[in-house]
């Protein structure tokens, strides 16, 4: 594989935070504009994949360690289920929206949908990054 030209390297390093920012925007405004947990999470994952492709997996590995990513997946799922349990403990039924509905149109307007979006975003992002690490680093 020929060497990656420095232009691409510099651009990626500069562009990386903005991709993450765009992913955060999609996740946080999931209930207002088209977007949501999955789409934002996929963009998180693609940011990490982009860094991995350009910088090489070794460098990306020490920034986003694989065990840390798998751990985030577990914690994300745990938070998802505990959000469901909180609804149950507060007297509503399981997985029900226990937070008050904010003023329509603003970010905190949809109760616990925002937190669910964040959890799913992290989970999908780290999941795709783990799958990318595993497939790239696999040698027979």
């Amino acid at each position: 594989m020929h060497r990656i030209s420095p232009i691409v390297k510099i651009f990626t390093r500069k562009l990386f935070p903005f991709i993450l920012l765009y992913g955060c925007y999609l996740i946080s405004h999931g209930h207002l504009t088209p977007g949501g947990g999955f789409q934002g999470g996929v963009i998180f994952g693609s940011a990490i994949i982009l860094l991995g492709l350009v910088e090489g997996v070794k460098l990306t590995e020490n920034r986003f360690k694989e065990d840390f990513l798998s751990l985030t997946k577990n914690i994300g799922m745990l938070i998802f289920i505990l959000l469901g349990f909180v609804g149950m403990f507060l007297g509503y039924s399981f997985l029900s929206d226990f937070l008050p509905r904010g003023e329509v149109g603003t970010v905190p307007s949809a109760g616990f949908i925002l937190f669910l979006n964040l959890t799913i975003g992290f989970m999908v992002g780290t999941g795709i990054a783990v799958i990318f690490y595993r497939t790239v680093r696999h040698e027979p």
Binding site: H31, S70, M77, R101, S109, I113, N117, V130, H138
Partner: protein, 90 residues
């Protein structure tokens, strides 16, 4: 399987599909979607109705599907390990 055999099977399937499914759906709302559109914003506070459905009305589906994604990521993680790294659990 030879191509001709596959094509004949597909033609039979196509005949069944097209004869059974009536194709002029696009005019009336189902009762359920009518409810979502009228009461959606009031009950969930979200403007994006699709997110309101899959994160508030049918959030149980999303819980199930997040488990599917978790299980497949775990599967890929376990399958493509370098040799038996012992049972290091992440």
């Amino acid at each position: 399987m030879s191509r001709i055999l596959a094509i004949t099977i597909l033609l039979i399937l196509a005949f069944f599909f097209f004869s059974a499914v009536k194709l002029d759906y696009g005019h009336m709302h189902s009762a359920l979607s009518e409810y979502y559109i009228t009461h959606g914003v009031a009950e969930t506070g979200a403007l994006n109705m699709v997110t309101a459905i899959y994160l508030n009305y049918r959030v149980y589906d999303t819980l199930g599907e997040a488990t599917v994604f978790f299980a497949s990521a775990l599967g890929v993680f376990m399958l493509l390990r370098k040799g038996g790294e012992g049972e290091s659990d992440a």
